[in-house]
């Protein structure tokens, strides 16, 4: 607890002893010179502009896009470049073969952040596309005969531990917006974002495994806020 100065009163015509005066003033100066604390300072006395940068919280913003391999669908009558003759619908994205058939998680993004002890709020957002119609089974023509609903879910891991599981997304276009807050110790921590696409079916392996994009994401942002204890 900081020193609280009690005012002394000097009567008229008193002779004040130097040591007595020094003691009183030194106590005050001792408090002023680095001894003030919560007992002296009123509520809300520290305004935002008086706070040194990154002394209350620290944020990182990491904006990124999918940088790994993407492939076009291998349909012979798709247009294959910008110079196509008739407007078509060629797709481009991640093949099953590029994500182990959906058997494992695939890393989307990873970032490291130096934390102070406190809370770490992690936000991940991106846009995604799922080839949810997958009518390509009917490669022989005529009516499409098979339909396979696909989905994807996301995970956020902190130092390898799952701290967030998303729901499964089934719409062909959607925005992923995930947020969680976890306690962290002082030091460097790794935030990892992964997705897990629906497992390839037996039919998938025989027909689309290595020739049809089934998923893609882009516009990812990892936003972390470390709020200090």
């Amino acid at each position: 607890m900081a020193y609280k100065w009690d005012a002394g009163y000097v009567e008229n015509l008193d002779i004040v002893d130097g040591r007595q005066f020094d003691n009183t003033l030194n106590n005050l100066v001792g408090a002023v010179n680095g001894g003030l604390d919560r007992e002296n300072l009123p509520s809300n006395c520290i305004q935002p502009t008086q706070i040194v940068s990154q002394n209350v919280a620290k944020c990182t913003v990491d904006r990124l896009n999918y940088e790994e391999n993407t492939d076009a669908a291998a349909g012979s009558s798709y247009w294959t470049s910008l110079g196509f003759a008739t407007r078509g619908n060629n797709l481009c994205g991640i093949l099953y073969s590029s994500m182990q058939g959906g058997e494992t998680n695939v890393e989307a993004a990873v970032t490291n952040i130096d934390c102070e002890e406190g809370m770490l709020q992690i936000t991940w957002k991106c846009a995604q596309w799922i080839n949810s119609h997958l009518t390509v089974y009917n490669a022989g023509g005529g009516f499409s005969s098979r339909y396979s609903l696909k989905g994807v879910y996301w995970q956020i891991k902190l130092d390898g531990n799952i701290v967030l599981n998303s729901r499964s997304y089934y719409m062909n276009w959607s925005n992923v917006k995930l947020e969680c807050a976890v306690p962290v110790s002082k030091g460097n921590h790794e935030v990892r974002v992964e997705f897990n696409f629906a497992n390839a079916t037996e039919q998938d392996f025989t027909t689309i495994y290595d020739n049809t994009p089934v998923f893609h994401w882009w516009g990812g942002t990892i936003f972390t806020t470390n709020r200090f204890r």
């Binding site: 040591r19 003030l36 919560r38 957002k125 846009a127 005969s145 925005n175 893609h216």
Partner: protein
């Protein structure tokens, strides 16, 4: 410097006058008037000493407040057209429309209505380099537009069931005119884009002053969707109208339209709009009873310019389509603004449905010193 430096009188114990004494008091006065980290004990401050929102410079939510009562249908002003719609009234050089229907569902350009709001009266908010800006937007998509007059825009239109089924088929793509093979435009590669634009000029709310986030805050590579105007029909989209999805896509929200699975017989197609706010009896023998869709996204970035942010407005940018440039290695995923309706009879293989939007809102947070 905020330390008080005093000179003790002991042990000299001199006879002093007011100057020496006042010097001592003056030191204390100076120090206590400039209290800083040299005066406060290590870890001597609690959160209660810190003013509310020490790092949050601004935080507020805005909404057009258009909320339909149960059983009612959206007003015409809540409809946002696709550029490929023959009714597109904005000209070939315009590709985006401000989301500006107010709480009554009427389009208006008056600031304070629709999604066009001044952030802090008309004085704006000074943004500094390094500020973190977070915009959370969410859209209540009520329904997709139904039959467009004059064309068989919807695959559920007047087209024969077999032809509709062929349209769904994702293999092929362009010569569905004869419906004779594995052709069709497929479904599911289209979406709408919704994104904010900002006014850093003044608080008057003139639509011409709203610019993209990338332009306003100097974000290198950020998309300028409004500049990618595509083609209004018939022709192929020009090469400069493609947006490379490997570029910075972080400033937009995608909104799905509909979903279509293969048709397995001649009388039914498995078409499903993702949102259909009322019981839809327009599509021939199909009654869709889908609920409206609330879609949300966050846009988070670091400002790289000192500007004054006056106002934000959301924009709807038609229907965009997934595409690919396979002349590159690896193949490059692209988006382009769809410019054709779905009318295979006339060799058009796009989609031009508009969407009805209900409540559209966004929140703005500005963080500093983080």
């Amino acid at each position: 410097m905020s330390r008080a430096t005093i000179t003790n009188f002991y042990p000299d114990n001199p006879v002093i006058d007011s100057v020496e004494l006042n010097n001592q008091y003056g030191q204390v006065q100076t120090a206590t008037a400039l209290i800083n980290e040299q005066n406060v004990r290590f870890e001597g401050v609690d959160t209660r000493q810190i003013a509310t929102n020490p790092v949050l410079v601004f935080g507020k939510q805005f909404t057009n407040d258009y909320k339909l009562t149960l059983g009612s249908a959206p007003a015409a002003g809540a409809l946002y057209l696709a550029k490929a719609d023959p009714a597109w009234p904005y000209g070939v050089n315009v590709s985006e429309i401000p989301i500006n229907h107010n709480s009554s569902g009427t389009k208006t350009a008056i600031i304070g209505n629709g999604t066009k709001f001044n952030m802090a009266a008309s004085t704006g908010i000074p943004i500094l380099v390094g500020d973190i800006i977070r915009i959370d937007l969410d859209i209540h998509a009520w329904s997709i537009q139904e039959q467009i007059a004059g064309i068989t825009d919807s695959p559920l239109g007047t087209m024969a069931a077999a032809a509709r089924a062929q349209l769904v088929n994702g293999i092929g793509g362009q010569t569905a005119l004869t419906y004779g093979g594995n052709y069709g435009s497929g479904m599911g590669e289209w979406c709408s884009l919704i994104y904010p634009k900002v006014n850093i000029t003044n608080g008057l709310g003139n639509d011409a002053n709203y610019v993209s986030l990338g332009t306003a805050f100097n974000i290198v590579g950020a998309p300028e969707f409004g500049n990618l105007i595509g083609e209004s029909g018939g022709a192929n989209p020009p090469s400069d109208s493609f947006f490379n999805l490997r570029d910075d896509f972080d400033n937009a929200m995608v909104l799905p339209i509909h979903h279509m699975s293969p048709a397995n017989n001649t009388s039914r197609v498995a078409f499903m709009p993702y949102y259909e706010g009322h019981r839809n009896t327009t599509y021939a023998d199909f009654n869709f009873d889908m609920p409206p869709l609330r879609e949300a996204a966050s846009i988070i970035f670091v400002a790289n310019a000192n500007v004054t942010l006056y106002s934000i407005q959301l924009y709807y940018s038609g229907i965009w389509r997934l595409a690919c440039d396979s002349s590159t290695s690896p193949d490059t995923p692209l988006l382009y603004l769809e410019g054709q309706p779905c009318d295979p009879t006339n060799n058009d293989f796009g989609v031009s449905t508009g969407v009805f939007l209900e409540e559209c809102r966004y929140g703005l947070q500005i963080l500093r010193r983080v």
